[in-house]
């Protein structure tokens, strides 16, 4: 699925919605509903929980659209709303989340090596869910979304040094948890 935006820039759509054309908001929904699906799933440990969070965040983004300071970067602003939602969700539910959302390896890839990777991958997923939300976020953004520390710092409003500290604790915790699982 091609994710590059086609059609008018976000800023034009935002202004149209703020002027009263509510149906135009569907354009933004279609553009961004899956943009952070992987991030939300890894943060919350479940595709269903992630879908609920994204739905909620999209509605909140509409409610607060007048406060979007840079309408041409609706995606970045929406990310902040979704991020807040994910963190609030984790604060409410500190228990280990079920991995109902981690897809199985497709049949044509069912080699022994890929099964072993899959098992280790599930182990990492379980371990990720036991990290603090801040540790899990930097891990997901750096190693799944492949952002640099500087990009992450600019996005979430913190320092590179703080991010590295969280990340290095996450590395150690993951190693410890994976050894316990073996």
């Amino acid at each position: 699925m091609e994710r590059t935006a086609v059609g008018p820039p976000d800023g034009v759509i935002v202004q149209a919605v703020l002027s009263g054309d509510v149906e135009q908001y569907a354009v933004l929904v279609r553009r961004y509903q899956d943009r952070y699906a992987r991030y939300a799933t890894r943060m919350l440990g479940s595709v269903d929980a992630a879908e609920d969070a994204v739905q909620d965040a999209l509605v909140r983004a509409y409610d607060q659209l007048a406060r979007c300071r840079d309408p041409n970067n609706f995606a970045g602003w929406f990310f902040l709303i979704l991020r807040n939602r994910c963190f609030a969700e984790r604060r409410r539910d500190q228990r280990f989340a079920a991995l109902d959302g981690v897809p199985d390896v497709p049949a044509e890839e069912n080699t022994e090596a890929s099964l072993e990777r899959s098992e280790r991958g599930r182990g990492i997923e379980r371990a990720l869910q036991t990290l603090t939300p801040e540790q899990r976020e930097v891990f997901v953004l750096k190693h799944m979304e492949e952002l640099s520390y500087e990009e992450i710092a600019g996005r979430v409003g913190t320092t590179v040094a703080a991010l590295k500290m969280r990340m290095h604790r996450a590395y150690d915790r993951l190693r410890e948890l994976l050894e316990e699982m073996q």
């Binding site: 970045g76 602003w77 902040l80 409003g157 320092t159």
Partner: protein, 218 residues
């Protein structure tokens, strides 16, 4: 979807950040380094989403640059202001006093050493004649003078409850400072004023206190 396409999408998403252009708040442009401006602007976006005032965040960033502080330290200081505003807004929302002026005044009081619990107590005592923003401004100033938390809260609350005009509340820091100039420690100065306010509250013989009493009552 393939990873190259996903990476392309993410790069497009972050292009404004990567270029450092068109993303920094106008108040920061030209005054702070681009990386700091981007991070502070992200915090400003979060503040806007939470209904928090953004000016204190901008002020702290500009202050840090003016004083030559390292970027990391500036961002920590700005983050601290954000967390204070957020904590204060949360507690004030519970008291029905969550206007921007009250949040800024509460954040100042917190920077001066009061806790969210102190701020909540003061805000709950505030009334139409003694707005929460004014009460918190006075409380923060008293704390900044060195009056301990307990005495600060007690003095502000007693003054509001005494029903005295708001000018009496606002003049408290000046009165405490005058007492300190006379050799009184801040805590003792504040405690003395609180006792005076409480005496104004206490029902006394007819003709004293707030009411005049019933002249027809034997």
């Amino acid at each position: 979807m393939t990873r190259p396409a996903s990476l392309l999408a993410l790069a497009m998403l972050l292009a404004p950040h990567l270029a450092g252009q068109g993303r920094a708040d106008a108040r920061l442009a030209g005054r702070v380094p681009a990386s700091l401006a981007a991070a502070v602007t992200a915090l400003l976006d979060s503040a806007a989403l939470h209904g928090l005032p953004g000016a204190p965040l901008v002020d702290k960033a500009l202050e840090g640059v003016a004083k030559g502080a390292p970027t990391d330290r500036i961002l920590v200081a700005v983050r601290t202001v954000f967390d204070q505003l957020d904590a204060v807004a949360t507690v004030l929302a519970e008291t029905g006093n969550a206007g921007a002026d009250a949040v800024e005044a509460g954040s100042f009081a917190m920077a001066a050493g009061l806790t969210t619990s102190d701020i909540g107590e003061i805000a709950r005592t505030a009334d139409r004649s003694h707005p929460a923003a004014t009460a918190l401004l006075v409380a923060g100033t008293l704390a900044a003078l060195g009056v301990p938390r307990a005495e600060t809260v007690a003095l502000v609350r007693a003054t509001i409850r005494s029903g005295r005009p708001v000018g009496d509340l606002v003049s408290l820091p000046g009165q405490v400072q005058a007492a300190m100039a006379g050799g009184s420690p801040p805590a003792a100065a504040a405690a003395g004023l609180a006792r005076a306010a409480e005496a104004h509250l206490a029902p006394g013989p007819r003709g004293r206190g707030r009411g005049q009493g019933n002249p027809h009552k034997p």
